[in-house]
Subunit: 100 residues, 7 copies
């Protein structure tokens, strides 16, 4: 996306996330076997929309906040290339859990 310098603000109940690379080494620096490297489904929330709309037009704030460490579903999300960085847009209710 050529929106260099522009801030991307998700609309409605969308959540913009950056996927976190899974750790390939133990804390002590030992290389983890492939099986131990969990699939890439953790992410950091980069931006959130105002929230979903109820049937009579009220806005319901999203469950996720900017900065949250979250667990993504195996499928879903649309990839967006922002200044060369691969980000993803999910709907708030697709995000499985928070990691605190």
């Amino acid at each position: 996306m050529s929106g260099a310098g522009k801030r991307l603000i998700p609309l409605l109940d969308r959540v913009l996330v950056e996927k976190l690379q899974p750790k390939k080494k133990t804390a002590g620096g030992v290389l983890l076997p492939e099986s131990a490297i969990s699939k890439l489904n953790e992410a950091k929330v980069v931006a959130v929309g105002p929230g979903s709309r109820t049937q009579d037009g009220k806005t319901v704030p999203p469950s996720c906040r900017e900065g949250d460490h979250v667990l993504l579903p195996e499928f879903g999300g649309s990839a967006i290339n922002v200044d060369g960085k691969e980000l993803y847009l999910y709907r708030d209710d697709e995000i499985l859990a928070k990691l605190e």
Copy 2:
């Protein structure tokens, strides 16, 4: 469309947009490689409808405003030729994000 001189006003929650051509050169004028040229999914909002209707008939204003710089989904939208210019109609809740 032969509505030369006529103003097109989207109905309900429809949003009329004009897709923005992706920049093919860096600021310094260097030609960008094909891979770096993001697909055409940014647009400028040309006109918006009054908004969607709730179950009991109330109108809920759209998230987008005329003049907004927005991010379009990969699919969807219906093409309309207005005085030789290719514009697109989306539903307000199809628009992914704003770029500010």
Copy 3:
């Protein structure tokens, strides 16, 4: 339809339209090339129903008014032959936009 002399009143949120023939010549009378002649999707609203019903039975007036110049979707609408004239019935929320 043999309802000669009878007035056709759409029910609920239906809108009766007459499609407008696209202009085949420029204002100066020059024949337009086939490609420039936009597909037939503009129409004039001939009659409108009272409107759609909310979940608790209230009637919500349609967006279109009799006499409006409107933009039709590419698909949809049911053809009705009224006294030899080809008219079309759409649902109000299928009409894309007004041209003013």
Copy 4:
């Protein structure tokens, strides 16, 4: 149906209609060409039910009245043979328009 002498009262939002035979001659008695004879989609309303139910159980009266001259959709309706006469049951919101 062997309900000889019994009155058929549609339930909920159902409408009982009798299809009208299209006129095969002009007013002056001249035989109309086959193409000019519109398909059989006009009907007279014979009886109407009390109306549809809203989500909280309220009854919403139908748009059609007994005796109305109406325009039927091309498809739909269930045929019922009442004392040898072929009648049809439609849902009120399937009826396209009234002819007045």
Copy 5:
């Protein structure tokens, strides 16, 4: 069903009916031709449930009453053998009409 002597009470908006055999002779005793014998879609209401539930849990009484002479749809209904008698359970809103 071995519930000999037990009364069957339909739940929610279900209606228990017994289909009526179509008359095979005219009032005067003359055998009706096969074509004139309408398919078996008339029935007598044997028992009705309390009614359907609205979205907020209120009960809405059924349209049919015990003893009503009704018109059944061509399809639907689940057969139940009660003490050797073949009865049918329909949802109240499947019943087409009453015959009075």
Copy 6:
């Protein structure tokens, strides 16, 4: 299920039932012919959940009570083996009728 000694409490609008064996002999002890032995669709209600939830979160009590003699639909229900006994879980609105 190894929940020996544990009580199974259905959640929401679920109903736990034990299917009743159809009587194979008449009251007088005479063996019934296969055709007269109705399919196994009667059951006794063993436990019921609190009930279904309305759209705004209110709980609506189930139609069935513990101890009711009920009529099951031909299909549906999930089998659960509780301490070697085959029980079934249905949704409350799947139960067809009560036998009193």
Copy 7:
């Protein structure tokens, strides 16, 4: 998941469970035959989300509590590997019953 030391908090109406291994021996230590070992559908609730959202945005607390012993449906649930332990996320209304 590399969230070592992080607490996983399900969002909305999701419930995190750990499946219980079925007992392979009787209380007296005798090995159970394969047929008697029930399929793995019992679990302990590890964490619950705040609950589902009603149509107007209110939160409805889940039926399950942390620590509950529950019965899982045969299908559904998404597997999550948390620090090498296989846990599962279900929606609250998918959980069949509690064992108390």
